[in-house]
């Protein structure tokens, strides 16, 4: 593990307070994000892990205010970006943040580029919009975005259509789009999950490089604790729409406090922390529209007792920035 110094400034770049995003569906209210709070410092890589369906993507989309319509709605909380609450902005003001201050890389490189426009068009689009670049200058900037992601021969590649590129290349293009306007925060929502191992390692190295070069903050969503160990400074573990544990990476690996985190880490093969999916823990995650009473993890928790089933656990500080929501913390 490399040492990863982070400048912990006085105010975090991004601070999320008690964020709630619900889906109003035929079957009931799905509380995909239910009281999530975290902050991301300047130049920090913040990890978000958890099983499929726990609300990671919806958290990310909420930060950009792009929750799937019409069912989804951000019903509460604050998202402070450099002290301004994004949830209070008008739609057109919010658009000035998207792609310029906050960018996103989506999971599937095969579907996240528009098939009928050239790669160059798609990279140039946010640059033209936010930086008002035109003509030669615009094209140069698009090319240098491709260069940043180490795409060979960028000037020619600008004229390509997505289907002419491999998956790995396309994901670099998506990265180039996200980074073209030099944003402060990059959200990488399982940006490497769909790539094969070698390409994935290259991509991570690239992100690391850009992070160091530009002092970029990254919110890194993944299933993979190996990647967390390699990339992140701090991690939040999410379960059923809530963050259940938050700690620095070191602290989390050395002293996991929440039974769910312990189960996740136990499910990871030792030595090599890399796994495809965190699917190997007992039982199914709960349906988000009919959560169990008390602690959401109680039906699957080996430490669960009658109190856990009855009442929601409190947030308990373990040590400094390390906390977990649990009645019966695992003491390391």
């Amino acid at each position: 593990m490399t040492t990863k110094p982070v400048a912990q400034g006085a105010t975090p770049l991004l601070q999320v307070d008690d964020l709630r995003t619900y889906f109003f569906t035929r079957w009931g209210v799905v509380k995909s994000v239910d009281g999530v709070s975290f902050s991301v410092g300047r130049g920090e890589i913040f990890g978000l892990v958890g099983e499929s369906g726990c609300g990671k993507s919806i958290t990310c989309l909420s930060l950009m205010r792009l929750v799937p319509q019409p069912a989804g709605k951000i019903v509460g909380g604050r998202i402070l970006f450099e002290g301004r609450d994004l949830l209070k902005l008008g739609e057109s003001e919010m658009r000035r943040y998207r792609g310029r201050h906050i960018s996103i890389i989506l999971q599937d490189p095969m579907t996240s580029l528009n098939p009928v426009f050239t790669v160059g068009d798609q990279i140039a689009e946010p640059v033209r919009l936010h930086q008002r670049a035109r003509g030669r200058d615009l094209w140069d900037r698009a090319a240098s975005a491709l260069r940043l992601l180490r795409i060979p021969d960028p000037e020619t590649r600008l004229g390509d259509y997505p289907h002419q590129m491999s998956g790995g290349m396309r994901q670099r293009v998506v990265g180039a789009i996200a980074l073209a306007c030099e944003p402060h925060v990059l959200i990488a929502d399982e940006a490497t999950t769909a790539l094969d191992a070698t390409i994935q390692a290259q991509y991570l190295a690239l992100l690391q490089e850009v992070h160091e070069k530009k002092g970029l903050s990254i919110i890194f969503v993944t299933h993979d604790f190996g990647i967390v160990a390699k990339m992140c400074h701090r991690v939040a573990v999410m379960y059923a729409g809530k963050i259940v544990e938050m700690a620095s990476v070191r602290e989390l690996f050395d002293h996991p406090a929440h039974p769910y985190t312990v189960a996740l880490l136990d499910a990871v093969p030792p030595l090599d922390y890399r796994v495809e999916r965190l699917a190997s823990i007992e039982g199914q995650p709960p349906q988000l529209y009919k959560l169990p009473s008390g602690c959401s993890f109680s039906p699957r928790c080996p430490r669960s007792d009658s109190l856990c089933v009855r009442e929601s656990p409190p947030q308990v500080t373990v040590d400094g920035g390390h906390w977990a929501t649990c009645w019966r913390l695992v003491d390391a």
Partner: protein, 308 residues
């Protein structure tokens, strides 16, 4: 690509050949035109003479062979009823059909495009419901009935518009509206565009387009529409040819519009074989041509096809 074009041309030729054969046989199944044309008191000799003059006494395969050979040389024969060259009839009538068809298509698309797109963008809204109702309604109304209704109101009761025939702009109004509102063009495009737009709006690349900070208008009209149009183009090309063929026969007959549809109607009534065959062949050629045009448009819209 060249092989593909060659293949398509051969395919088109085969289609037209098959159509010729079918229409040739079907026309003859309706009976002998001389039964209708000859004076009631003609002698069997006169009958045989006329039959010989028209070549109707030859075996069917000889007649068909001659028809094919002549057609390839752009000689479509003469009308049995009027004796005028069929080619001349078509040249005179076809522009009228085309003008009516084009104006009906333009009207149908002018209504269908915004309706289909807005229905998708505001899914579940009043407008969405209205669009879908309109689509089902239009498609289930028979065009002859709508035509007659419009005629009796605007030409009959109100005396606002001419009752039939071709002429100025006023003559276009009723047949155009009838053709545009009924049939599958309008309703099909509304439904197809709505559903393909809904798919596209749900896609990851639209999500990414929004994440760039683009306005909803740019997302819908640039990123989504061009993709959503791809399936619609096939439909429009195909139904335009059908609109010219099927619907025009009915509408042209109701409005006494001097196009090929009405020509076909009259020709069938009189068992005027050469004219029937020519009109059907013309419409079949159009259908085949429409498919070719669709393929070219496809390549323009979808780079994945262009580079194959």
């Amino acid at each position: 690509m060249q092989r593909y074009i060659l293949f398509r041309l051969v395919q088109a030729g085969a289609t037209l050949l098959a159509v010729s054969l079918v229409v040739f046989i079907l026309a003859r199944l309706t009976g002998n035109p001389l039964d209708l044309l000859m004076p009631i008191d003609s002698t069997p000799e006169q009958y045989a003479q006329e039959s010989q003059r028209l070549g109707l006494d030859k075996p069917l395969y000889v007649q068909f062979g001659r028809f094919l050979v002549n057609s390839v040389q752009a000689d479509l024969g003469k009308s049995i009823r009027t004796g005028r060259p069929v080619l001349e009839l078509l040249r005179q009538r076809f522009p009228n059909t085309m003008k009516l068809g084009l104006s009906a298509m333009a009207l149908a698309l002018a209504i269908a495009f915004p309706l289909g797109i807005l229905a998708a963008v505001r899914r579940g809204s009043f407008l969405d419901g209205a669009a879908r109702t309109t689509a089902v309604f239009g498609q289930s109304l028979p065009s002859f009935w709508v035509g007659i209704l419009l005629l009796s109101v605007f030409a009959g009761t109100l005396h606002l518009l001419p009752a039939g025939g071709a002429g100025g702009l006023k003559h276009y109004l009723l047949p155009t509206v009838t053709l545009a509102l009924t049939g599958f063009m309008l309703s099909g495009v509304v439904r197809l565009l709505r559903s393909s737009m809904l798919d596209v709006l749900d896609s990851e690349y639209v999500k990414l387009a929004r994440a760039k900070g683009l306005s909803e208008n740019v997302v819908v009209w640039k990123h989504a529409l061009k993709n959503a149009l791809i399936p619609v183009v096939t439909f429009v090309g195909f139904y335009f040819a059908l609109l010219l063929g099927g619907a025009s026969v009915v509408v042209e007959t109701v409005f006494a519009w001097p196009g090929v549809g009405r020509l076909a109607y009259e020709a069938v009534m009189w068992r005027d074989y050469p004219v029937v065959q020519a009109v059907v062949l013309l419409l079949a050629t159009l259908l085949v041509a429409a498919n070719l045009v669709v393929d070219i448009l496809y390549a323009y819209l979808d780079p994945r096809v262009r580079y194959r």
